[in-house]
């Protein structure tokens, strides 16, 4: 088995070299780096919300209803005298939670399905393709409407709906990558060596499709973040008085004429959050695209 060992060693060192190259190329893209930095900031804010927010998001100050921004309330207060900045900070939790978890869950479900469909082909491939088509025929909002009807509206159920909405795209990406990777020489060599299917899929195909999957994840996260906001806005996600950027917009829409700033802040938060993930994803795609690597 010494032969196999050296091949692994060679592969590892070339992989390490490639990783270093990718990092170098990535750092040369200012927009992608800025995107990553902002996205990480949002994630940190979401995790440490209780320590960052000056007030509890549901605490009402009836002496300061619809107050303008001041040193006491950084971004002012809403119609119930709640601190807008604190609500924004806590709202990041719901958005990041929904965006990241829906995407992670969808990836964990979709990638093995895509691997199986692309690797074995045969009867299983068209079966999975039709099931994916069925899932696609129900836009995430329709799935969310159905889930809210069956299970009741909540952040968890909104996240499930967003996950189901993200699965078809991820299956297609994983399947497409598997189809092309299984024709690669090193996969054929592994087959000829008598490696088991699990080993081929796990050791040879999966690591090599990871970059493409990660890029797909970075475009799915912002879509899911916007999706969570939409669902909460429609009353199908996070329920008031709990906070989320969508809930804040839903509350604020009745004050468009008197206090339009209440609609501006959460909207900008959603915008910058999804923009940051999109910038990061775009940069990553350019860096990992073999056509630009050469």
């Amino acid at each position: 088995m010494s032969y196999a060992d050296t091949s692994v060693a060679v592969e590892l060192s070339s992989r390490a070299r490639r990783r270093r190259l990718i990092r170098k190329r990535f750092l040369r893209r200012p927009f992608a780096v800025i995107g990553l930095a902002i996205a990480l900031t949002f994630i940190i804010v979401a995790i440490f919300a209780p320590w960052i927010a000056p007030y509890h998001p549901e605490t009402m100050d009836l002496n300061a209803i619809l107050a303008h921004p001041s040193s006491k309330h950084l971004l002012g207060t809403d119609e119930l005298g709640r601190d807008v900045f604190s609500r924004l900070v806590w709202g990041a939790r719901a958005s990041i939670f929904a965006g990241v978890f829906a995407t992670l869950l969808a990836t964990v479900i979709a990638v093995p399905i895509g691997l199986v469909a692309g690797y074995y082909r045969g009867w299983i491939d068209p079966v999975i393709a039709r099931l994916t088509d069925v899932l696609l025929a129900f836009p995430f909002l329709i799935i969310a409407v159905g889930l809210a009807a069956i299970l009741g509206p909540s952040l968890r159920n909104a996240t499930i709906a967003l996950c189901l909405g993200a699965i078809p795209g991820l299956i297609r990406v994983a399947r497409g990558e598997t189809l092309s990777l299984r024709e690669e020489d090193y996969v054929r060599a592994a087959v000829a060596n008598g490696a088991s299917d699990v080993r081929i899929l796990g050791k040879h195909i999966f690591p090599n499709m990871l970059p493409t999957v990660i890029v797909q994840m970075t475009v799915t996260i912002p879509a899911a973040i916007i999706g969570e906001a939409v669902l909460s806005f429609l009353g199908l996600g996070v329920q008031s008085p709990q906070t989320s950027w969508g809930v804040m917009l839903s509350d604020a829409k009745d004050y468009l004429t008197t206090a339009p700033r209440l609609s501006v802040y959460p909207g900008l938060a959603i915008f910058f959050c999804s923009l940051s993930f999109n910038l990061f994803g775009d940069g990553l795609r350019d860096v990992l695209d073999p056509r630009t690597t050469r």
Binding site: A137, L141, I142, V145, A149, L256
Partner: protein, 317 residues
């Protein structure tokens, strides 16, 4: 071609059938027994049993499904809580949404395609950066928020356009377009961003292709090369994008209609869930799934007409 056509239609039918099973089972999974709803205050077991028997609710689920499917195929989607035929309600509301979707697609194409062409032709120049940045903003912006901002600016602040509501085209064409302009813009921006990015990348690969080099070598003016040779091939991809974006468009329609208070299909969906009207919900979800499948089938078929290579490749897999 015949084989390809048959395979695509067959696949679409399977998807439709599976979707209908999913919708049927989904509605059965909803809390609340229809018999309880029909029996109203009467909780007498004998009466409930009679109601269940009358509506066939005591039969096995597969039998119920076949019966339901048979009725659905005849256009009978049942009656909603107000005792109106669901199919009738959908037929009334759908045209409003179709008009909105049509206008949104026009907005998306009118912005996305020229922007994509310019970005590709002027690659790595300022026009390209402006267009790519614009597309990134269009992708990242939450559209329902954009709707709120447009309302507060154009309707509340400038009083140029109505903030919400709807009048039919037959009744007042100008008023109809005024009411639909902002919603169509909101829905169209997202689509234009996706189209622009797709257009840019497919134009870039077309512009590098051999037949474009040949056209240039023949001495054709650059304008002809771009508009006649490169664009024609890139436009084929646009048809698929519109098909893929159907799902996003349906989701977008629900939100946009609810913000602009347009009494279309999207608002009907929300009404169905808010009123817990499950027969209506079932009909609405089924029609939306069928619409998605039919649009994508048409797109696939159109695509194969426009691009003969697909038929050949399709036959191999």
């Amino acid at each position: 071609m015949g084989g390809f056509l048959l395979r695509r239609v067959g696949a679409a039918l399977i998807v439709l059938l599976l979707s209908s099973i999913l919708v049927f089972l989904g509605v059965r999974a909803l809390p609340g027994d229809p018999a309880t709803a029909l029996g109203a205050e009467n909780r007498d077991p004998a009466v409930m049993k009679a109601i269940r028997h009358e509506y066939g609710l005591d039969k096995p689920i597969p039998v119920q499904y076949v019966k339901w499917l048979g009725q659905t195929l005849q256009g009978n989607l049942g009656r909603d809580q107000r005792d109106l035929a669901v199919s009738q309600t959908i037929v009334q509301r759908l045209p409003i949404t179709l008009e909105l979707a049509f206008l949104a697609i026009i907005v998306g194409i009118a912005i996305g395609i020229p922007a994509g062409i310019i970005a590709a032709v002027k690659q790595r120049k300022s026009a390209d950066y402006v267009a790519t940045t614009g597309a990134l903003v269009g992708l990242s912006i939450p559209h329902f928020w954009l709707a709120l901002m447009l309302i507060s600016f154009f309707a509340v602040h400038l009083h140029w356009l109505p903030a919400s509501g709807y009048v039919s085209f037959a009744h007042d064409p100008i008023g109809n377009l005024k009411h639909l302009l902002l919603p169509a813009l909101v829905l169209g921006t997202g689509l234009s961003a996706v189209l622009m990015r797709q257009m840019r990348s497919s134009m870039l690969s077309s512009l590098g292709a051999d037949y474009v080099r040949t056209a240039r070598a023949k001495g054709l003016p650059e304008r002809t090369v771009i508009l006649k040779h490169a664009l024609r091939n890139s436009l084929i991809t646009v048809t698929t994008i519109v098909g893929i974006q159907m799902g996003a468009l349906i989701s977008g329609v629900v939100v946009t209609e609810s913000i602009f208070v347009i009494p279309g299909f999207g608002v009907l969906t929300l009404e169905a869930i808010q009123q817990r009207d499950y027969t209506l919900l079932q009909g609405v979800v089924l029609v939306s799934a069928a619409g998605y499948v039919i649009v994508n089938l048409s797109v696939d078929l159109l695509y194969s007409v426009l691009n003969p290579r697909i038929r050949v490749a399709g036959a191999q897999t």
